[in-house]
């Protein structure tokens, strides 16, 4: 197999992405594996590494839809929301760029190795660090400013508090980029970050048409894309309770004044049907159509 093309694009080159020049300290040299012509403003999709199924679902939903609409998805290829969004973008046939905090030829994090291989061959993986540079703590914060600069709009799908996604959002605000955030339940610690962004002025995104509007406002061309399947509202009390908030079976039983056996059986049925997923922490949450 032919190894993908490597490019080192200096600040003065014609191929250097114009949007990166907005940065106060633009990268002197941009190391690219893949197609440099993809480096146009797009939609940044970022979120927590320790994602809940809710965060992963929303990342997939919005990144997949935007990529199908012809918008390039920019992210950091980290485990969790980043990876979910980028994989969804790939599977909907769109293009997506990974910005790394190590050399563009380094597979880090190791969990993303397959994704990175795919992107190098079919899209682009970029970094401001020379080939082979190892990852270190500070390089990731620096990397976040490149994600922010490449994004015409930045969508935060899920963020707790404190969270690394905030540094990306701060960079985006400094650069005058639009910051979008997916709201979450006020009771979820995993949603506190995204909800705070909304309070600070980020645009809340609750469905794809709102995302489409926001992308057009940010100056991106949004082609016609198939609306994601409409969410069918569930009917049962357990389903409705779960839709509002992911819950533990015990709390659900107490809230609905129902015995645990009934709850356990209904949850099992919903899980078998794929409508409900179990979070890593033992809570159950409703899954919207993917």
């Amino acid at each position: 197999m032919k190894s993908p093309a490597r490019h080192a694009i200096a600040l003065g080159d014609a191929a250097y992405p114009a949007c990166l020049r907005d940065l106060s300290e633009p990268p002197r040299v941009l190391y690219v594996i893949g197609s440099p012509e993809l480096l146009v403003p797009g939609l940044g999709v970022i979120g927590a590494r320790k994602a809940t199924p809710y965060g992963l679902t929303t990342a997939r939903r919005f990144a997949g839809w935007a990529a199908a609409a012809g918008v390039t998805i920019i992210s950091g290829a980290a485990v969790g929301c980043d990876m979910a969004g980028q994989l969804a973008a790939r599977s909907s046939g769109g293009s997506t760029i990974a910005v790394l905090g190590c050399g563009a030829d380094v597979d880090y994090p190791s969990g993303s190795a397959d994704l990175l291989q795919d992107l190098r061959s079919n899209c682009a993986v970029i970094s401001e660090l020379p080939w082979g540079s190892p990852p270190s703590r500070w390089t990731f914060v620096r990397r976040n400013r490149i994600i922010a600069a490449l994004s015409a709009a930045l969508l935060v799908v899920e963020a707790g508090l404190p969270s690394g996604t905030f540094s990306t959002a701060d960079f985006a605000l400094d650069l005058g980029r639009d910051v979008l955030a997916v709201p979450g339940a006020i009771t979820h610690p995993e949603s506190r970050g995204a909800n705070r962004l909304i309070r600070q002025g980020a645009t809340p995104i609750t469905d794809v048409s709102e995302l489409g509007d926001a992308l057009r406002l940010a100056g991106l061309d949004v082609e016609f894309a198939q609306e994601a399947a409409q969410l069918t509202l569930p009917s049962g009390a357990i389903e409705r309770a779960l839709l509002a908030e992911a819950q533990r079976p015990d709390d659900l039983a107490r809230a609905l004044d129902c015995d645990v056996v009934t709850i356990a059986r209904r949850l099992g049925e919903l899980e078998m049907g794929g409508n409900v997923v179990r979070y890593r922490d033992g809570r159950y949450g409703f899954v919207a159509a993917r």
Binding site: D250, I263, M272
Partner: protein, 493 residues
């Protein structure tokens, strides 16, 4: 001819194998030799026997004494040979009548003053004697356990001096007295409705259980209450479990009274500690938990090699140690109850505390247990810290005795149907489940979606069968299956 034979036995695994102690006293250069693959403890018997005989007022022959332990190729362990050797020498030198030890097996360690001490494994010796149709001669302390063996006549011998007056016969008690012990009660557990349900399922069907939750959430509290909702050991189980404890030199009295063993080894436990080993081999914690509960707290902190030894016994109910000196088989049919934190800091998913663990560290922590072991966990339940209101409030769960009544009823229903589901597999299991076509299709679809292994399918069906037993239903319904799938761990889907 100055020769005599007394029966004895040596422990191999949890069994005592019969050994003949032959003494030959001939004129010649005075000496005392023991032949027949004896270990150091047996060889030291020479000095103990010599002193004990003299102290008891008998005469140690001033002649050539040869003791042979037959069959010669069998390796003999332990100090239990002291008494039979002494008896053989006394019989050979006509200091006691030959009829006194005829048809008897003897076991006991001698002290230098002539008193007889009990040794580990009395129950095994008693069973071996009963099997050979012998009576058992031994010290009073040891014979307490031997009384549990039906049809065995015991002769009590506390000091060698008593040989002059004859044995004092012990009253024969066919059954050891039942009960007389209390287990921790479920009444002490507030809240935890889901975990209580799972504990009851584990008790009803003998399923393995993993509890995951932050520190202090009550995992250990719940686990310690499992024996209290299990039925008492039946007669066969009592003997089998007590046998392992007896061989290991532990007190077997509670087990003979029907109390289920509950073993909770610390997580620094070694492979040999868990599986058994050493020279001579001793049973490990898994075997000591035979017919009972093996509780492994902080499962992820156990050494991976120790944990992996659990796998075979969890399937077979026994384990075989193969060593240079031979192979021994230990019974190990236990209900595994394990507890672990969701991550190294313990607070992943806690609503009030934040978890500081990096994603990779959490993943590595969870893989310490390993897929094959996780696959064998029938029930996985999250146990969370409960609200202080609930802890101090009036809400109180059922007591252990109420739950145990239900468990007993379930087990009775299961037995009438054809046996506990944890013992079923393959066609017999499918047969017992009697799935309808629609339920079967639904389950196949779920199994495919969640990438269930063959073992996972079996284990989900077993749990579903137990859930149906709890409802006293002959057929496993979709609801039972759904609940069983919900109890499956999420790491192995």
């Amino acid at each position: 001819m100055p020769q005599a034979t007394v029966f004895a036995a040596t422990i191999a695994g949890v069994e005592a194998l019969p050994v003949e102690v032959q003494a030959d006293v001939t004129s010649g250069l005075p000496g005392f030799g023991i032949v027949g693959l004896a270990d150091t403890a047996v060889l030291e018997a020479r000095d103990r026997v010599r002193s004990a005989l003299r102290a008891a007022g008998f005469e140690f022959p001033n002649a050539r004494v040869l003791v042979n332990l037959a069959p010669a190729p069998l390796r003999k362990h332990g100090t239990g040979f002291d008494l039979p050797i002494a008896l053989a020498i006394l019989t050979a030198t006509r200091q006691i009548p030959a009829g006194l030890t005829a048809g008897s097996s003897a076991v006991g360690e001698l002290a230098l003053d002539g008193s007889v001490r009990s040794v580990a494994g009395t129950l095994a010796y008693a069973l071996a004697a009963a099997r050979c149709g012998h009576d058992l001669i031994g010290p009073g302390g040891a014979l307490a356990a031997a009384r549990a063996v039906e049809g065995l006549t015991c002769h009590r011998l506390d000091v060698l001096q008593e040989l002059r007056t004859g044995f004092s016969a012990l009253p024969v008690v066919a059954h050891y007295c039942s009960g007389g012990f209390t287990e921790p009660d479920l009444l002490d557990v507030a809240g935890h409705a889901g975990a209580r349900r799972v504990l009851e399922v584990a008790a009803a069907g003998g399923h393995n259980l993993l509890m995951v939750g932050p520190p202090g959430s009550g995992k250990t509290l719940l686990a310690r209450r499992l024996p209290g909702i299990l039925p008492q050991l039946d007669d066969a189980e009592r003997l089998a479990s007590a046998l392992v404890h007896s061989v290991a030199g532990l007190d077997e009295a509670p087990l003979l009274a029907g109390r289920r063993p509950f073993r909770a080894p610390h997580h620094t436990c070694s492979v040999a500690g868990l599986a058994g080993g050493g020279s001579p081999p001793r049973p490990g914690e898994m075997s000591l938990a035979h017919n009972g509960v093996l509780f492994l707290d902080e499962l992820a902190e156990f050494s991976p090699s120790a944990l992996q030894t659990l796998r075979q016994p969890m399937e077979d109910g026994s384990l075989t140690l193969v060593r240079a000196e031979g192979r021994v088989r230990y019974p190990a049919r236990f209900t595994l109850v394990a507890a672990m934190n969701p991550c190294p800091c313990g607070f992943l998913g806690d609503p009030d505390r934040t978890c500081d663990c990096a994603d990779g560290i959490i993943r590595r922590y969870n893989t310490r247990v390993g897929g094959p072991l996780m696959d064998r966990m029938d029930l996985v339940v999250r146990v969370d810290r409960i609200d202080p209101d609930l802890l101090l409030g009036a809400e109180q769960g059922e007591s252990s005795s109420v739950v145990r009544e239900r468990v007993l009823a379930t087990r009775e229903f299961a037995c009438r149907r054809g046996g506990l589901s944890s013992g079923l597999s393959g066609a017999a299991l499918l047969d017992a489940c009697r799935l309808t076509g629609a339920t079967s299709r639904l389950f196949t679809e779920t199994a495919r979606r969640h990438h269930f292994s063959g073992r996972a399918v079996t284990r989900v069906l077993r749990v579903a069968r137990t859930l149906a037993d709890m409802d006293a239903e002959k057929r496993v319904s979709a609801a039972h299956l759904a609940e069983a799938v919900g109890y499956r761990g999420w790491e192995n889907r």
